[in-house]
Amino acid sequence: MLSESGSAGADARIGITLTINSERRELQVAPWTTLLDLLRERLDLTGTKKGCDHGQCGACTVLVDGTRINSCLALAVMKDGAEITTVEGLAGLAQKHGTNTLHPIQEAFVEHDAFQCGYCTPGQLCSSVGLMNEGHAKTRDEIREAMSGNLCRCGAYTNIVDAIEEVMHQGAAR
């Protein structure tokens, strides 16, 4: 079994500390390992998706210190010390603010049928939370503009915007 330390092919390992979904982890990672591959391949957090590996589709969106980023474009070593929230941690994020099992945006996605195949969904969810944290988008058109980095080939866009709008108007927890 491959150790958490990463690549057998890369000589160098760099020690970093990440807090992932409120859990502090000390990791030895190869410098060529992206944050996305670290999550998916080494930590079995496969909720974060790889759609293009080029920062063009948004499926890999996670929150780093509350800001949404494409985790395929970040090397894991660059995020030493950061607090990372993936889709698996969204519910926990909400629980800190005293809500129930799912984050309100997760509930709204289910209610509004804001996904079909589900593959872009984790990225859409994390991006939605990031967007609300930013606080710039207010109207439907602004939400659409600011969510345009997250592609959905099933075309659930209208329902995604409905879900975000609803949660935004509730002033829901981050």
């Binding site: 591959d37 519910a91 997760q106 289910v110 049928d113 079909q116 589900g118 872009c120 959905c152």
Partner: protein
Amino acid sequence: MTKQISTGAGHDRFVGSALSRVDGPAKVTGLAKYAGEFSAENLAHGYVVSSTIAKGRITGIDTSAAEAVPGVLKVLTHQNRPSIAGEAKAYQDMVAPPGSPFRPLYDETVVFSGQPVALVVAEDFETARHAASLVSLTYEEETPHTDIAAQMSESYDPPTKRGGIKPPPKPWGDAGGAFDGAAIKVKQRYRIAHEHHNPMEPQASTVVVEDDGTYTVYDKIQGVANTQLYLTNAFGLKPDQVRCLSPYMGGGFGNALRPQYQLFLAMLAAQDLNRSVRVVLTRDQMWSFTYRPGAIQTVALGADAKGTLQAIRHDAVHGTSTFEDYQENVVNWAGTLYACDNVELTYRLAKLDTATPGDMRAPGAVTGLFALETAMDELAYATGIDPIQLRLANYTETDPVEDKPFGSKALKSCFAQGAERFGWSKRDPVPRSMRDGKELVGWGMACGIWEALMMPSSARATLSADGRLEVGNSTADIGTGTYTILTQIAADALGLPLDHVTTKLGDTNLAEAPIAGGSWTAASSGTAVMKACRKVAEEVFKLARGMDGSPLANADFERVVFARGRVELAGEPSRGVALVDVLKAAGKDKIEATESASPDKDFKKKFEAYTHSAVFAEVKIDEELGIVRVTRIVSAVAAGKILNTKTARSQIMGAVVMGIGSALHEESMLDQRLGRFMNRNLGEYHVPAHADVHDIDVIFVEEEDKANPLGVKGVGEIGIVGTAAAIANAIHHATGKRIRDLPITVDKILA
């Protein structure tokens, strides 16, 4: 709510409702696992090396640098691969078109750009990727032919027809003569670009080698039965040696109907290394297999001054590979949709040095209806008749191709309800007559049509002693909502609460079912699940009636209902027994039934079955910038009974979005000298993004159909058909420019 679902057992409580997806919680928490996400002890990672030429042969491969990288386990090429099936026939999957399927790493021949030429297998993904970049190849290159316009003169009528695809009907009347003599004529050439499906999940396969030497294969496929068939034939395995699973799929749209080369390579490496192996394609490599073939079409319509069609001619040519004759129904729709005495439809293929094209959402209909429905709009302008009135003037209640009535056809309701919702009556038909500030406004409409299909399918239902029901079969939920509708059907059939019903799909250990595609899954798997549940219900009833002092002692099956977890006499709920008590009294830990469902032959003899739609589009165009915004779409759909209004609406909305892409954005561009798609990434191949999509309004009109006991016709494809034509017609209305070449990009608006 309807008698159709009534199995003589359950009530329609959940069927027809707007139930949220039962797999929703798994998908919003990241727990739903896709093919490339299953792990195994000692899992190795494969990375594909792709050919850089489109045609020729490999003259040399140097793998030494790659093999020298620590962590690399093997570099597989055609030179060192283990022995595999030689005959091309062994690679023919369930939906392969006529021809000789591509065999990965078979020999030195290169037949398309991006063809896999080596697989690097390493301890981890990064090492495999790095080492793949070190594999160097030399080629002897031949000139590729990939330009369909240049190959038109070599086009041919495919000698072997593809199963399930009707060739064009024999001409009737005299289309040429009638066209020549018609008072009003429209004859134009239409083009659509090559499109790639680009589901969000790239193709992926994980082959797990089990301790007993069997394989568990997680594959991105729209039906695991196809994966199993392919692997058993190509690798000489028995079905019980290969269990295939695809519980979730990150988008299909036809791209995962056929097993792709990453599956073959993962199995090849797993056998060679006796280790579990995963191979995931890159986004770039998603341009190295199936695509919607671009087409060149001519439509000629002749009509009298009242708009009555006197001649229809539709000729289409699209590309296929050099080794398979991919076929779809492009031209037949013209004969089915309109009444006309003189019709001639032709369809030909042109060989291109690309991978074999394949089915992409509403294959053929998207292509053909763009041309036909744009031509109809041109005819509306040529005759001065409103586009809806023109279509009503040529309406048919029977299918002229088969000379049989439609089982149901509520297209007139689609026109009426769609027009009402859209506000069509306020349209000034004069081009460039409507504005919103500095933007030109255009309103256009078109029809859509798709076959209502059903495939033979089976399903199993198991009622356990604790009152829980499990149903399922091997088909896939590709995002369409199959888990949810089957759960609804099963819960209603046995009168159980939803949380007592579990649906399992995408596993060859389950009852056999067809691939998910063609909009046939709801009819096929839905009917099979309903029948299996009915069988369980009959068994339960029999046992209940035989219980000591049974309140149902003298009842017959047609007079009982299943509700609240009980079997009760209709109208007398107090006379009944809880299902758990029935099983307990009978000393059974479960009641299980597997049932098959097939299309109704009597119905097929008498009727033709199609879904229809009327699509209305509003565009706003900044004329200085040439930018088109699709601000509103109303899609009014007649698709029989709607099992779940929430997920069905999503199907239509999603298909409309793909139609917007087809109309305005999507184009895989070939460098004809290299025979290579140039824009192989999501930055340069634009699929609609959030900002491209505005209001989409979906209407399901009432339509009662009897093709199957559920009364469903399927909703996966119909939403995209006609959407591009409606948008193109709206652009003409806004600008006065008739653009017959998709996608309608800024340059074409400004030209």
